[in-house]
């Protein structure tokens, strides 16, 4: 990776809807340094999640370029973007989005399997131990509490040692204690990963304050103070 882990160059994402054109993201230009942490804040519907989706290669911009590391992912085919996600990216969502038919360990193990790991569940078990979930490894998601599920989701996002961690409202559905713990976890993981880049979408100022830098969006654009 170069010094800029993420580079957005006049990136736009527009949707055609029956009500007219929606400019979810409108000509955003932004650089995020490798190993840094960034909070993206803004009111509901300002385009935060869409921006995160563009960075993660889940969405393709209508205009502009998205570069992650040294790869301009906005011009990559879906196949390549998927390979990038499985190798370099880790996603955490507001809803845990765990696979309901997989145990906690298997949910994490799937990410390893996708990366082609041949070491079995080794690191997955380590992470569960670190997160205090060793006793819950073989439980299905509906047998875990909300906080436990979110910790499993974070373990899933970190297990393959991604260079870029993208979190979309990771504390949105948690109480204050759990929120604090989750942000701690993310920051610890970022540091432990040897300088991974962390981008967190949040509307919680307390969470944003704990990250290195904050970008505020309004109507799909970066709001300059």
């Amino acid at each position: 990776m170069t010094s800029a882990a993420i580079a957005l160059d006049a990136v736009s994402k527009h949707y055609e809807t029956p009500a007219g054109l929606v400019r979810a993201v409108d000509e955003i230009t932004l650089d995020v340094q490798a190993g840094s942490s960034l909070a993206i804040t803004g009111s509901s519907g300002c385009g935060k999640s869409t921006l995160l989706g563009l960075i993660g290669g889940l969405e393709v911009p209508t205009a502009g370029h998205v570069t992650v590391g040294d790869q301009q992912i906005s011009s990559l085919p879906e196949q390549e973007r998927a390979r990038l996600r499985r190798d370099e990216l880790g996603f955490v969502f507001q809803a845990d989005n765990l696979q309901p038919f997989l145990t906690a360990l298997e949910n994490i193990g799937l990410q390893l399997a996708l990366k082609g790991s041949r070491n079995g569940y080794g690191r997955a078990r380590e992470l569960l131990d670190e997160l205090g979930l060793e006793a819950h490894a073989d439980k299905l998601p509906d047998q875990l509490s909300g906080g436990q599920r979110q910790r499993v989701a974070i373990a899933r996002a970190l297990v393959h040692r991604p260079r870029l961690i993208l979190a979309d409202e990771p504390t949105g559905s948690l109480d204050e204690d759990n929120s604090h713990a989750i942000v701690d976890l993310l920051l610890t993981a970022q540091r432990a990963a040897g300088g991974a880049t962390l981008v967190v979408v949040t509307h919680d100022p307390a969470v944003a304050a704990r990250l290195g830098r904050t970008v505020r969006l309004r109507d799909g654009r970066v709001e300059h103070a």
Partner: protein, 1035 residues
């Protein structure tokens, strides 16, 4: 609220279509079958009566006429009687004919209201002694009446006696007077005061005036002994039948064919056989000897007629043998006038002679054709119409004849067959409704899950449970209503396409409208319930479906299910052993309708559902024990994920398998049933014909047809031909204790085995080839029907005597040894009793004339048979007239009219809907899967799962469902078809064997596979179009 529901349906076209698809197809199938039943029923009347030659026959009980007249009067002053008052009874017997009446018996008992006054009976004023303390006319306790001997032509006898009133009678004329008179010549008693007998001509004229009667024609015939017909130089050596009918009758029944010449007043037609024997043709003169006539009747010949196929003339008039066709080759046709003027009086005279014993008396009848076009298309209603006409016909000059109502008898069988057909068709349509309900419930349960989020939003906006329930009711009504209407439209179009407008539109509009209403009502009720119940349940659901379904079912529940299934299996086996599913024994050969209790049709339905549910349950059991990738690792992303999903979500898998299984099982059962039904029909027809083709030399042929003629029939397309001698009652079997007339068939065993449709099952405790070898090895061997052997206490190995060629000059008594028994013999469904070696038969009788030849065709398809028959007609038949019957053209009166139903049309209809439904159920499963699991798939995409891997995942799950469903469906469908064929075996002469139409079944399985592949590909393509960031944010 209604507009909200409407917008929701319109804006979610995929959900709406998924819900509608199953309903439309299921109701479409059900309604199509109802319309099919209407259309088929509409042709059943015509189909049933088509082979019927004579609608009604009024056979005169006193064809010789000349019956005595008996009048009876009671004289009382003022026409009334006080209790105890006397009155005089007068009986007058008059012989109005020109011949004496012998053994005249007068029988009378006073009416119950009157008591005989002892010693008051007088005959022509002379006092008669009482008999047994009562009236001499009563004839004592036996009630045999008084025999007054012979009454000369024009003679009259008067009896009087006194009666006393047991109670007051206001009108003695109203008393029922019951005196009767009978004679040796006419043993059927004539009632007192009966109207004068009409002649057949007078009767036909009166019957013809009945509005629904198209024609009423007099037909008379009399059987004459050998030598009765001849010319100056030759005589017919066999019995002769003399017919009396006119040209109009001949035109009415086209099976009476004129070979040469025509009707001329005062002349006669000769049958082709008689003409050939006598060497006489138009212009010649023949002499006919009639009993009672001193000199033969000399008749000029005006034509030659072929009566060989004139069934109306030769069917037996004996009420116990109405179906028997007894052909008399040597016949002569005279005009009704000649018969009335010359032949009847001669018979009367002969019959009146003291000591005469005529073997058979003339038969006179009126053959009635009713207006068939007026008959209702439904056999039941047509039967009521025919019976009404029969009553009208019977009211014309009653009491002097027997009415044989062939058309009502036929329609009665057709009505019963139609009822069975309806039940059978409904069975084939009922699964449509059940599948519609299943598909609606299936789609409903999947969509209900998808709608939970919308419902949660509505609740946030203030909608309470009542609002949501009302919206669910509106949605259900809209979907079930629209689906049922569209289904009925689809059903009508499908039935129209299969049956054709000319057949379907023959059905009464009211019947079609009723079927449409039934289909809409049944479709709406079942699918509405199927949609509403899962929707209502989902409103109560707190925990997501997917989480709930992952929980393993408790062991006791599984044990309970296993116990229930085991119990059902044991009950089914016991029921089979107890022959619960056996149809009631009925013989279509005996003209009986097939009875089919609904419980028998219910059995395959129950087997269908139970079998598929059992298979689904087995799938759950197997998938929940699916081995996971070995060792402490996840395995490959696709296989590891798929295994765990199948293992832990086996219930949703089982629902999909049940859906596919139900459809495929139904389709398989229908395909097997259709193929078996067609196979059984073909086998029956072949059995009736004897082989692929039956060649009968025409009576017009001047050439002899010895056994060696078979070689001339071996034209291209014919594998082999074999000669057969077969006639009704042409032999007498003399057993050790008894003897009886039998139908003997003589065959050449070697060629017969190659040609005829023989089955090992026909030969009790033996095989076809063993029986034929035995007959070949021992020319004096005899095969005996098991029934005849039982009747005459004959066993294999017994030596018996057989009178061969009975009733001909060549009849001869020969010894035989019984070499085998048979239960059935091809070509003779009405029962050949004896089968002998043709070579020996020819040597013993000197008769080398063969009755017909059986031929095996190289190509036994319908088209192949038609081609081969044409080759026979244009080959040996060009110079020597022959009649060729084939499996397809033979009139098979032994089959139930049900067997003639357009079952193939119904099978095509069912197959079409099955194919569509199997595609629909797989599509609903796959798209339901997508709807239910799209967040899972999008999460996997975010985790870096490649498009191909996702496709493999979806395809894997859908493929396993399709494969398990198809396998379960094939197994259950085969069992269901076996049960159905078993239940319906009474429809056929030969027990049908299950036929597997490999192509049809492969097409069904192939379509299921193709539908799986296409659905999975389309579904994953749709997955790419989803907006992942939105989905992943959803809680």
């Amino acid at each position: 609220m209604r507009s909200f529901v409407w917008r929701e349906l319109v804006r979610n076209p995929r959900r709406t279509l998924a819900s509608l698809a199953g309903i439309v197809l299921g109701v479409g199938l059900f309604s199509a079958v109802l319309f099919f039943v209407d259309g088929s029923g509409a042709t059943m009347t015509q189909r049933a009566i088509a082979p019927l030659a004579l609608d009604m026959q009024r056979v005169l009980s006193s064809p010789l006429g000349g019956d005595l007249r008996l009048t009876q009067r009671v004289f009382a002053r003022g026409g009334a009687l006080r209790r105890g008052q006397r009155a005089t009874m007068t009986l007058t017997v008059l012989n109005p004919s020109a011949v004496p009446a012998n053994e005249v018996v007068v029988q009378d008992d006073p009416a119950p209201a009157l008591a005989y006054v002892r010693g008051t009976t007088r005959r022509d004023a002379a006092r008669l002694r009482d008999a047994g303390g009562g009236s001499p006319l009563a004839g004592g306790l036996a009630g045999s009446g008084l025999n007054i001997g012979t009454l000369r032509p024009g003679g009259k006898v008067t009896f009087t006696y006194e009666v006393r009133a047991r109670r007051a009678l206001t009108d003695v004329a109203a008393l029922r007077l019951a005196a009767r008179v009978s004679t040796r010549e006419n043993v059927v008693p004539v009632q007192a005061n009966a109207p004068a007998n009409l002649s057949a001509q007078e009767l036909s004229a009166q019957i013809a005036r009945i509005p629904a009667v198209v024609a009423a024609d007099a037909l008379s015939f009399a059987d004459l002994p050998k030598g009765a017909l001849g010319t100056a130089v030759a005589r017919v050596g066999d019995p002769v039948r003399v017919f009396a009918f006119d040209e109009r009758y001949q035109r009415r029944y086209p099976s009476i064919r004129l070979a040469s010449g025509g009707f001329q007043p005062g002349s006669a037609l000769l049958s082709a056989e008689a003409a050939r024997t006598l060497g006489a043709g138009p212009g010649a003169t023949v002499q006919l000897s009639v009993p009672g006539r001193a000199a033969p009747l000399s008749l000029p010949v005006s034509g030659v007629t072929d009566l060989a196929r004139a069934k109306p003339l030769f069917y037996s008039r004996k009420t116990s043998k109405l179906e028997d066709f007894i052909y008399v080759p040597d016949s002569i046709v005279v005009s009704p006038q000649i018969f009335r003027r010359e032949i009847l009086p001669a018979f009367q005279l002969a019959n009146a002679r003291r000591g005469s014993s005529l073997k058979s008396l003339p038969v006179s009848e009126v053959d009635v054709l009713i207006d068939r076009s007026r008959l209702h298309t439904d056999p039941g209603r047509a039967l009521a119409q025919a019976k009404a006409v029969a009553r009208s016909v019977g009211r014309v000059a009653p009491g002097q004849d027997t009415l044989i109502d062939n058309i009502s008898n036929t329609l009665q069988v057709a009505r019963d067959d139609a009822a069975v057909g309806r039940r059978m068709f409904l069975f084939l349509g009922l699964p449509g409704v059940l599948l519609a309900a299943f598909l609606a419930a299936y789609a409903g349960s999947i969509l209900a899950g998808a709608q939970r989020r919308d419902q949660a939003n509505l609740r946030i906006r203030g909608a309470h449970r009542g609002h949501l329930l009302r919206m669910l009711a509106y949605r259900t009504l809209a979907l079930a209503g629209a689906g049922s209407l569209l289904g009925v439209a689809l059903g009508f179009v499908s039935a129209l396409a299969i049956l054709g407008p000319s057949t379907l539109l023959k059905a009464a509009t009211a019947d079609l409208a009723l079927s449409a209403l039934i289909a809409i009502a049944v479709g709406m009720v079942t699918t509405a319930l199927a949609l509403y119940i899962p929707g209502r349940r989902s409103l109560h659901r707190e925990i997501s479906q997917e989480r709930r379904e992952i929980r393993a079912s408790s062991a006791p529940a599984w044990r309970l299910e296993a116990a229930v299934f085991a119990g059902l299996a044991v009950a089914f086996v016991l029921a089979l052993r107890a022959r619960t599913f056996d149809p009631p024994a009925a013989s279509v050969s005996a003209g009986q309708a097939v009875t089919l209790p609904p419980r028998l049709l219910l059995a395959p339905l129950v087997a269908w559902f139970a079998g598929v549910l059992l298979a689904a349950r087995a799938a759950i059991a197997v998938s929940s024990r699916l081995p996971l990738p070995a060792g402490p690792r996840f395995g490959s992303p696709v296989w590891g994920t798929l295994c765990r999903s199948l293992r832990r979500r086996s219930r949703s898998l089982a629902t999909g398998i049940a859906g596919v299984g139900l459809v495929v099982a139904f389709g398989t059962a229908i395909a097997l049933f259709g193929a078996t039904y067609d196979g059984a029909k073909a086998a029956d027809s072949t059995f009736v014909v004897g082989s692929d083709l039956r060649v009968t030399p025409s009576v017009l042929s001047p050439r002899p047809h010895p056994p060696s003629y078979a070689r001339k029939l071996e034209v291209p397309g014919i594998v082999a031909a074999t000669p057969v001698v077969a006639k009704l009652e042409n032999s007498v079997l003399v057993g050790p204790f008894d003897q009886n007339r039998q139908d003997l068939t003589a065959i050449d065993p070697v060629s017969y085995e190659r040609v005829a449709a023989l089955r090992d099952a026909f030969f009790a405790g033996s095989s076809a080839s063993t029986a034929m070898r035995a007959l070949q090895a021992n020319p004096r061997g005899l095969l005996v029907s098991a029934e005849t052997a039982d009747d005459l206490s004959v066993e294999v190995g017994d030596r018996v005597k057989v009178l061969l060629a009975r009733g001909t000059k060549q009849q001869t008594l020969k010894s035989f040894q019984v070499v085998g028994l048979f239960d059935a013999f091809p070509g003779f469904p009405e029962g050949a009793n004896l089968v002998a070696n043709l070579g020996y038969y020819v040597a013993a009788t000197g008769l080398s004339k063969v009755d017909y030849f059986l031929a095996r065709a190289r190509d036994s398809s319908d088209a192949g048979l038609a081609r081969t028959a044409a080759a026979l007609r244009s080959g040996p038949g060009r110079t020597d007239p022959i009649n060729v019957d084939s499996r397809t053209t033979a009139l098979d009166k032994d089959q139930s009219s049900l067997a003639a139903l357009n079952i193939q049309g119904l099978v095509e209809l069912d197959s079409l809907f099955t194919l569509l439904m199997s595609a629909a159920v797989i599509a609903i499963f796959v798209f339901g899967l997508m709807l239910e699991r799209r967040r899972e798939y999008v999460t996997m995409r975010a985790q870096g799962m490649l498009g191909g891997e996702l496709r493999a995942l979806v395809l894997g799950e859908a493929g396993i469902v399709a494969m398990c469903g198809v396998v379960a469906g094939l197994l259950v469908g085969t069992g269901m078809a076996a049960l159905l064929v078993h239940v319906l075996r009474g429809l056929f002469i030969l027990p049908p064997g299950l036929v597997l139409p490999a192509l049809d079944v492969a097409a069904l399985a192939g379509l299921a596979a193709a539908a799986t592949l296409v659905s999975a590909l389309v579904a994953t393509a749709m997955l790419r179009r989803l907006r992942p960031t939105e989905l992943l944010r959803e809680g």
